[in-house]
Symmetry: C2
Subunit: 142 residues, 2 copies
Amino acid sequence: MNLQQKKTSAPDTTVLEKLRASGLRPTRQRLALAKLLFGRGHCHVTAEGLFNEAKQTHVNVSLATVYNALHDFTAKGLLREISVDSSSSYFDTNTDDHHHFFFEGTGELQDIPPDSVRIAALPEAPGGSAISRVDVIIRVRD
Amino acid sequence: MNLQQKKTSAPDTTVLEKLRASGLRPTRQRLALAKLLFGRGHCHVTAEGLFNEAKQTHVNVSLATVYNALHDFTAKGLLREISVDSSSSYFDTNTDDHHHFFFEGTGELQDIPPDSVRIAALPEAPGGSAISRVDVIIRVRD
DNA sequence: CAAGTTGATTAGAATTTTTCTAAACTGCGA
DNA sequence: TCGCAGTTTAGAAAAATTCTAATCAACTTG
Ligand SMILES: [Mn+2]
Ligand SMILES: [Mn+2]
Ligand SMILES: [Zn+2]
Ligand SMILES: [Zn+2]
């Protein structure tokens, strides 16, 4: 149950290179998860959600490995983590600077077109600290 | 260990009335927690943090009761819940419309003076949904 | 190219955070 | 005062996340 990668006959070159470029070993588990994450358009996933997708695709990884991969990808800038809700955190395959709608009923996230939010004034970062990110979350009731 | 309220000889009238006005029974446990929360200036607490304060003040409540009280207070508009961090959610005694600095190192929250953030443009709420709140969180590295 | 070394990775186990639900309590009407 | 009904509490359970020991694989050496 702990087989590691074997040379895939038709590797998804794009995803493979994405991992290599970031300095993460393209293991069988990471490749499979990266394919699920980056193989189609941008999406917002939870650990549990990605884990379930993996199961459906017969990709055998533990939930802990899903967390590890999500955190590793985030640390390398391939994903962005978003906290909107105490229930669980979301990971966003869109790492461009952008903001979100959060649908309180369904728990879903949706990107907001970058230009439709404009912040006119921002305060100074307090005492010797530096701004690392500004998150705008528009909560909507559906 | 399950004694309920008994008439306190010198009740904190302000806190007592705050609970009565919101329609929550002013039980011994809620009064004690409300006193910790509202008895001083505005603050941002986690369930665990408030639970520890309670222990230090020899207020005997279970952690589950702290969660119940925080959620009840939030439902009645006495508190506001904030998600910034997957580790745990925060509850804010300041229910006015305002935004936050989040110190990534220490995990602390700090209010931003209301006028120093101005949002110039906001998008329409998508398809038949209505905006319930806009949260701006400025993450800073300390 | 085999074996040994070392650092990276995986995933079961443990921990932390939050919620559920049965029991305890309280307010009210008889 | 007593019993009933809705409310509240908190131990137990569940859900979310992290820890760590075992495993794996890249690299070095012979
Ligand atoms: Mn959590
Ligand atoms: Mn949880
Ligand atoms: Zn997004
Ligand atoms: Zn605040």
